[in-house]
Subunit: 243 residues, 2 copies
């Protein structure tokens, strides 16, 4: 009976091998479509990520591919796992990459949207914080929206950096990281390689600003038009190098 | 060898039964958490759905559950399949329900975000259009963002209804549906049970307006504050009953 049992064992293992692959893994094989030569913008997601702080910058950055004569962006999501992540508002999202299991493409722009536990338990996630620290050290631009600033600060955002966060959490950021220069009543702050945003609907401002910084006002205006935004940097409270 | 072969066959089938269940199905068993007595807001998604037109109203509606003394909303996504849907910007989303395979909860508010092919191939999706028609007939409020208006019009939005869509597609909506009264240079239009929005970042206006309509200005102001929006209906170009 050895032969047949082995045969069925092989069939069993084959069935498992075929059926146990996760849809997220199979989806990942064909996605994201990373076009060589583009800037890679990675969005860190986890359970409790806030929809708007993820999608506002993701939309602006993704739409750069429809603008001519610029080095556009590839956008993709990264999480600790490639199992489905559930956003704060209940959207079930399949991450494109898992930083604990995949070899990731080089990341030019690291985006940390806010998540429900960015003021508490997420800051205890040593693997996540270590990944953010390593990635931020190599990225050209590091961006946080809303309370993503707490993750960046925990992961070693430079002392004395000017930054901001969700308006109601300004005081908490100052308490937890007294060396930071936390600005308030402001949409976003660009200091060094870091862009921090108040988040929420203001997340569009920070994303459009970065595109204007990288590609010029005409491209930023076109990206804003696509999202029915009347974009005027001068009317947005912000701090940037030279201010 | 019948016995052992049957045993291994059973083991094989058991392994398949355990491993072949889709994460989206398993996720659906525990999600969404539909709290009885709330208004059910369903968001129709499909490949090519635009992130912001989905997440802006989803966020405003979801956050109603944190406001006291109102009949808050349950939010969930519905698609033709419970397999992963890929948004226009590349977000991989697991729908909460599939209208072809699930019995859906009663839908009080139907939201049709825009998607890449809402001016062409999506309008040929007979099953989707039929589901929208049936659902819209029973819903208390039917909302479209951006080009979702083309889906609502194809699914039988009443003739002579005032409505709007993405600014660049106003002319096309008028050509395709000449009986509609398409308003331009406007953020949203509320006529009868229908609220249609220009979409993009303006999608927040339509969602906040509906919350102000249902719950009053104080609640709308609180929801806007959570998304760092300075909300003032009077400063938003719109048309509503009585205007």
């Amino acid at each position: 009976m050895k032969g047949p049992r082995s045969l069925f064992s092989v069939l069993t293992l084959l069935a498992l091998a075929i059926c146990c692959k996760h849809p997220d893994k199979s989806a990942r094989r064909s996605w994201p479509d990373l076009v060589p030569g583009r800037l890679n913008a990675a969005f860190l997601i986890m359970d409790g990520v806030y929809n708007t702080e993820l999608t506002a910058p993701m939309d602006i950055f993704h739409h750069t591919r429809f603008r001519d004569s610029i080095r556009a962006m590839n956008v993709f999501t990264v999480a600790g796992t490639r199992q489905p992540v559930r956003s704060f508002e209940g959207l079930q999202i399949l991450p494109d990459f898992g930083y604990l299991e995949d070899s990731l493409p080089p990341i030019d722009i690291l985006v940390v949207p806010s998540a429900e536990h960015h003021l508490d338990s997420d800051l205890q996630d040593a693997a996540m914080i270590a990944w953010v620290r390593r990635t931020a050290q190599q990225a050209r631009i590091v961006m946080s929206l809303c309370d993503g600033a707490f993750v960046l600060a925990t992961a070693g955002m430079p002392d004395s950096l000017r930054c901001t966060t969700f308006p109601d959490d300004i005081g908490r950021l100052r308490e937890m990281f007294p060396a930071l220069r936390v600005l308030e009543n402001i949409s976003f702050v660009h200091d060094g390689r870091y862009i921090t945003s108040a988040g929420g609907d203001r997340s569009f401002d920070a994303a459009l600003y970065l595109c204007q910084h990288l590609y010029g006002k005409k491209v930023a205006d076109q990206l804003a038009h696509g999202l029915v935004i009347g974009w005027d940097l001068d009317s947005v409270p912000h701090w940037k190098p030279g201010d």
